[in-house]
């Protein structure tokens, strides 16, 4: 899940899919500057607005123990000023031009974006070119921001029982790959990070040849390309950043992790190592996720939530656009009075059922219809179209978007059963259980009575 600079703009799982509309390859203009900066431009003139995103190919995947969270720290301090732009002035400039801006970090990438009226896009282009190699910082800006990030971690992870569980799940599921690290970093690593660490990270990864720009909206591609070339063209190409060598070995037996902490309800999640879009199995895995979790009539909700009245929520998640192979996760939150043990058993029953028998013809068609419709609905948002292009480009090539729907259409019921059999095995699983401690019993703890007038 991405970690954003401000607000939970991008917390929803996002998986749009190609459709019968014109292929992206016919609508997108691609260009590359001599310094290696790639431009991916999609004109969409429905509103006088442009979404501008700059993606750096660096995230928690590129980090090391003792230095986790560095990419996200850098994302924050990128707003702390250059020789020409004062600290936090970036956001103010965008806002006084009627725009909105934010940034987010994932395992694979760090993305900065602005949404502006089309005639103001030059403002963000100049600001991004300026801070690609012009960051100037002292501890006076760095240290308070490090405190802010520790507050962010308390807000997003330490105070959120399910987030704390997923952090443990991920760090248990991976033994050798850097996907084990929390994107926001471990608290002790954040607390000890230095300005020098962040600047070294910046110099290594923030070079035009390790970045690309996605623009979606109301512009002329040739003119926009010219504007971007004028602003970014003089930035020197850098050395290629070091590759991530880590590869996760085949898992040879189930792993389990428990998190015991104050929480109102338990939670159970089962993650399995799976391939990404480089594998021909990706489309079948996505259909499998939709059969299990695409809507209230899908298997997990229908069985665990509706029929069994066991869970408050239940679902499956699979992101095929991860740069390295990721996880296929099924999860459920028990209703009060129901146990994690019973919930885990119900999730395993559903996994075993799909491994034993393929989905029905109607289920398969429903899943494919859902995937196609979702893709069209996603195009209602300029921002999500930018995310779609960026996510696929990070994973390899934005053009792979166009391969996806044809691949989904070819998936058979037997394919769905096969990928379930191959990947959703107990030996390939990490099971994580949130156990409320102290146990919750009886009514909610009440508020203390008012302590009287303040003044």
């Amino acid at each position: 899940m991405p970690v954003a600079l401000f607000g939970a703009l991008l917390a929803l799982p996002f998986q749009p899919h190609p459709t019968s509309a014109a292929p992206y390859a016919e609508r997108v203009t691609e260009a590359r500057l001599p310094n290696g900066l790639k431009l991916i431009m999609l004109e969409d003139h429905k509103a006088p607005v442009v979404v501008f995103q700059i993606w750096y190919r660096v995230g928690s995947r590129n980090e090391a123990l003792g230095h986790t969270g560095l990419s996200h720290i850098l994302e924050h301090i990128m707003f702390k000023g250059t020789a020409t732009v004062a600290p936090e002035e970036y956001s103010k400039i965008i806002q006084r031009n009627g725009g909105r801006t934010n940034a987010f970090t994932t395992e694979d990438a760090t993305t900065y974006f602005a949404m502006l009226a089309s005639d103001r896009v030059g403002v963000v282009i100049d600001l991004e070119a300026d801070r690609m190699n012009g960051l100037t910082l002292t501890d006076a800006q760095f240290l308070p921001e490090r405190d802010v990030i520790m507050e962010e971690r308390r807000l997003r992870v330490d105070n959120v029982p399910t987030a704390a569980l997923f952090e443990q799940l991920t760090s248990t599921a991976y033994a050798a790959h850097t996907y084990e690290f929390p994107i926001i970093g471990w608290m002790s690593d954040i607390g000890q990070a230095t300005l020098a660490d962040a600047m070294a990270h910046y110099r290594t990864y923030y070079v035009p040849n390790n970045a690309f720009i996605v623009a979606v909206g109301d512009f002329d591609s040739a003119a926009l390309r010219e504007q971007i070339a004028n602003a970014f063209g003089a930035l020197p190409m850098g050395a290629d950043p070091p590759p991530v060598r880590a590869m996760e070995p085949v898992q040879q037996g189930e792993r389990r992790v428990e998190v015991k902490r104050p929480a109102q309800l338990p939670f159970v999640a089962l993650s399995h190592h799976v391939p990404n879009l480089r594998s021909p199995d990706a489309a079948a895995l996505d259909v499998l996720a939709t059969v299990l979790s695409g809507g209230d009539s899908a298997r997990l909700h229908s069985q665990l939530v509706y029929r069994d009245r066991l869970a408050l929520s239940a679902g499956a998640e699979y992101d095929y656009t991860s740069l390295d192979p990721g996880l296929f996760t099924v999860y459920a939150q028990p209703l009060p009075g129901k146990t994690a043990t019973a919930t885990e058993a119900a999730l395993v029953r559903e996994i075993e059922r799909i491994r034993r028998e393929p989905p029905t013809a109607r289920e398969l068609e429903k899943a494919k219809n859902g995937i196609e419709a979702e893709y069209i609905f996603a195009q209602d948002s300029l921002f999500y179209q930018g995310m779609l292009l960026g996510d696929h480009e990070v994973a390899g090539d934005w053009r792979t978007i166009d391969d996806y729907l044809p691949a989904v259409r070819k998936v058979t019921a037997a394919d769905v059963q096969r990928v379930a059999t191959v990947y959703l095995r107990a030996e390939n699983r990490t099971t994580a259980v949130l156990i409320p401690d102290p146990p919750i019993a009886g009514p909610l703890p009440g508020a203390a009575p008012p302590s009287g007038p303040l003044h």
């Binding site: 401000f6 607000g7 429905k46 509103a47 006088p48 607005v49 600290p87 936090e88 956001s91 103010k92 806002q95 006084r96 031009n97 009627g98 909105r100 502006l116 009226a117 005639d119 103001r120 240290l143 308070p144 921001e145 405190d147 802010v148 507050e151 308390r154 807000l155 330490d158 105070n159 029982p161 309800l265 809507g295 209230d296 009539s297 899908a298 939530v305 509706y306 009245r309 408050l312 209703l335 009060p336 429903k366 219809n369 859902g370 196609e372 419709a373 979702e374 069209i376 609905f377 195009q379 209602d380 948002s381 300029l382 909610l444 703890p445 508020a447 203390a448 302590s451 007038p453 303040l454």
Partner: protein, 458 residues
Amino acid sequence: MAGARMDCRRQRRIAAAALLLCTALPLRATALGPAVTQETLPNGATLLVSEQHNLPLVLVRVVLDAGARRDPTEHGGLANLTAALLTEGTTTRSAETIKESIDFIGASLGANADQDYAVLSLQVLRKDLNTGLDLLADVLLRPALRAEELTRQREAVLASIRADEDDPTTVAQKAFQQALYGATPYGHPVEGTETSVARLTRADVQQFYRQFYGPGGAAIVIVGDLTVDEARNALTRALGNWRGAAPAPFVYPPVTEPPPSTLRIDRPVTQAGIVLGQLGIARDNPDFEQIAVMNYILGGGGFSSRLMDNIRTQAGLAYSVSSLFAASKSPGPFEIVMQTKTASVADAIARARQQVEAIRTAAVSDAELQEAKRYLTGSYPLRLDSNGKIADFIAQTWFYGLGTNYADIYIQRVNAVTAEDVLHVAQTYLHPERFLEVVVTNAAGAPAPTAPAAAAAP
């Protein structure tokens, strides 16, 4: 008309000043806002259609005066439960059949209640519009409201209420709302409380449905790839039998602002959730746009705001801090919301109070004023850059009676705001000496109770 709109957009691309030229054009609806056709259907409902042909999809919002403010005394959560039950079975379809039919066409259909209103929403591909509308009509006109389904939904609501207790900010907000509004309609959460939800019966839901789900006083908003005639015909076919008078107008009982107080709630958290504030404004307040400018500078404007600058950027005390006037049909709250580690609670609250005092004491700078106005006017197109946002905009402007040309009115009013106006509304609507203060924190690691902020001399 379509040609005129295109021209208008091109002008706006050239210069922001062209916004004013645009308003003068004889457009069907408004220059900045979406073109909307409004009519009254024979059954009394208002139909609002905006043709948007860029994608093969249609969005429908049925807006009903059936929000949580209509919950009977001690029956908090009834509006929410009624809305949730609509899609859980009709006289001819089971809950599972409805869900399966909707999922099969890749659509979504659901109802939910807000404080002031309830909305039944459909999102559907153009090619499946009639199938989608048939399902929407069935759940709106013929919900079975079965006891078995009520039990299921009540369990889910109670579990959600329980799960909310993990989030200190949600706990603080609920306590703040209760302390501010007491037993009046905004005093309880939309979803109700554990006590009130446990009390709700099938008879309650049936009566609420009969009272508030008729077409009188409702609006149907349709945005997407169809013409006004197609929309009217499709609706007449699907909802032709929808009948019923408007519910009696809602009258909010008088709210007496409670005396200032501070409420501490002990939870095993590492970071405190803090809400402070007081009674705010209704959406029809004539000072709404002046207040919007003032609040942007105080705490609504993200990194441009004083609260963010002081508490986050300067002091590193919080990740998120903001202020908000929740303008509802009746006066909603003014709230400052933030989170900070246990040891910083007193410091963060004192700083927030100082910023409130400051904006009441001295006029804002011209630079701040211009920034706020340029953001609030310049970002308006971002509020309308998708069909989903257009549908929500039309629904809200209708419900709050703002007029289909509200986008233009808003721009004009914001542009007219002066620094004196900002000072005036700050002094009129912000009274820190009356603030309620709620802190959800870990008592074991908490500092001494907050000292009152030093009152700045006016």
